[in-house]
Amino acid sequence: MDRAVHYFIISLLCIGALSSLSIASANKLYVFYPTDVRPKSLQGKINTLCPEINTVAFGRVVDFYRQIDRMPPNAILSLKPVVTRKQTHQGGLKGTLNGQYKEEYVLVSLDKPVDLKNIAQLKIGVLDILGRRAMKIFINDLFDSRINIKRVVKIEDFLPLLTFKLADAIFVSRSTFDKLKSKSRQNLVAVETGLSIGLAVIGVYQQNDNKINRCIKNLDQPTNALLGVDHWEGQL
């Protein structure tokens, strides 16, 4: 009898432990969004505006993905390709900028614009948002060509990449190009690529968390600007 009770208690404990692994942490939002500001600053801003949810911001995509696996949150916020790759969290709010879900990307170089016809011969700087292998595949698919990429891990690393001539051009969003132009005195020139990448989106674990959605929809303009959007669309 004692042994049976012992088994029963262990069973309950194990079931509890296993279910805690599979159930998302309530009101928890993980954010990976490459921007000028440090993750802790971004996290502080969202947590101040949304005290009812627990936001954790990550500076590296590898840590972001790792933590999602270890302790899945209710929702994740990142650029669309980052959320799409992580299939566990899908279908939440979508960020828009000037009414668009995507943003145009340009190729920026020093002094002389690059010739898109020669793209395969160039070294192109890109922000690593997916990890080494996935990033390579993503860029090759996007350009429909084999691209020689040089990755950086932060937005601010783009300028050194050009200054030190470690890349012929960098592949950045139109808004990042504008920021780089205001930061640098170098002659940065951009070429349209006709390519665009999805803006920030929310991926949800199994069902929408209204607290998180309400909070994100009510973010102020400066915080939205940090996340590269001006509006959030989707059901509460």
């Binding site: 049976a4 029963f8 069973s11 296993l18």
Partner: protein, 337 residues
């Protein structure tokens, strides 16, 4: 009642056993899957000095390349042990590539190559060693990433947060650093920043340093960039020359070591160091290029570090009335209040 409860317990424990079997199955499949996708037998040997920053760099390397190659890490604690080991490691481990982190392993490898000049050396990448260009010029089959942050990287960031023009920046340096300073001058000119340079002899007395630094600080400069030179940054010189002279200098002082911005030292206002994890990613990129080139170093390449971590002594900036853009403080890794 008791019989019913016993039956219930038995049923629960049977369910638990089935669950345990299922979980074991899942773990087995997971293990099998990982065993299949485990790194190949291609080994990269990491030879490191002791230090926390090296651990971060290795973490970056492993995060980026760990699924494609195996890393064997050897931390060496003293020269004697190390110098005996380098040949041994090459013979026993037979690495496809070597990565050096820190000065000492690299110096030992320089000696090893000199003593074995007829041998064929595996490709190598050197990181986190000071003034790498001077060290690896004569080495074969090696690439590297410098440890020093170019002035332009620090100055462009400083220009973002300081609400005052940063056009002329003073630097005092010993003559052995001439090449490094000239290279920095070229980068700074690209960003329309002029380096106001004062070169001093390699063997300079305290009074000479005092004289030249005083002269530089009184010249028409918007900020001072302090180069990482152990001789000029000896604690005695910091106390007796830098700190007394900088008391009257109410402009930004950029240093390359975070601890020089620490509270109450009254030295650096802004510091910039390499982001060690990102350095690992940058090195992984270099390694993967060598891997794709059939494990051959195509050309002798030395890159500057791309990614940095910064700190700002906000208290000292306020004391010196250096106007800081409060909206940009989110760009700072460490704020000293």
């Amino acid at each position: 009642m008791s019989i019913k409860f016993d039956a219930l317990i038995r049923r629960a424990s049977a369910v638990f056993k089935i669950g345990l079997l299922l979980v074991s199955g899942v773990f087995f499949v997971f293990f099998l899957n990982n065993a299949v996708s485990a790194p190949s037998d291609e080994v990269i040997l990491l030879l490191t000095s002791k230090g926390e920053s090296f651990k971060e760099t290795i973490e970056g390397l492993k995060d980026d390349l760990g699924k494609e190659v195996s890393f064997i890490e050897k931390t060496l604690h003293n020269n004697a042990e190390y110098s005996q080991s380098i040949e041994h490691y090459l013979d026993v481990i037979k690495p496809k590539m070597l990565v050096f982190l820190g000065n000492k392993p690299l110096q030992e490898y320089i000696r090893y190559q000199k003593e074995n000049s007829s041998k064929k050396f595996p490709p190598a990448v050197a990181l986190s060693a000071l003034y790498l260009d001077r060290q690896i010029t004569d080495l074969k089959n090696i690439n590297g990433i410098r440890y020093e942050i170019p002035a332009v990287t620090s100055l462009v960031q400083l220009r973002e947060i300081v609400q005052r023009p940063i056009k002329k920046v003073g630097i005092i340096y010993r003559e052995w650093m001439t090449d490094f300073i000239q290279q920095n001058q070229v980068y700074c000119e690209q960003e329309k920043i002029e380096l106001v340079k004062v070169k001093i002899y390699n063997r300079t007395s305290l009074s000479q340093l005092n004289y030249h630094l005083k002269h530089l600080l009184h010249s028409d400069i918007d900020a001072l960039w302090v180069a990482n030179d152990n001789a000029l940054l000896h604690p005695r010189i910091i106390q007796n020359v830098w700190i007394p002279l900088l008391k009257q200098f109410n402009k930004p002082v950029i240093v390359g070591i975070h601890r020089l911005t620490r509270k109450n030292l009254n030295f650096g206002t802004f510091s910039v160091e390499a982001d060690h994890y990102a350095l690992g990613i940058q090195a992984a990129e270099m390694i993967s290029t060598i891997m794709e080139n059939d494990w051959q170093v195509a050309e002798h390449e030395i890159e500057p570090p791309l990614s940095i971590r910064n700190s700002l002594n906000l208290k000292l900036s306020r004391d010196k009335k250096i106007p800081i853009d409060q909206q940009k403080l989110g760009q700072i890794d460490q704020l000293i209040l």
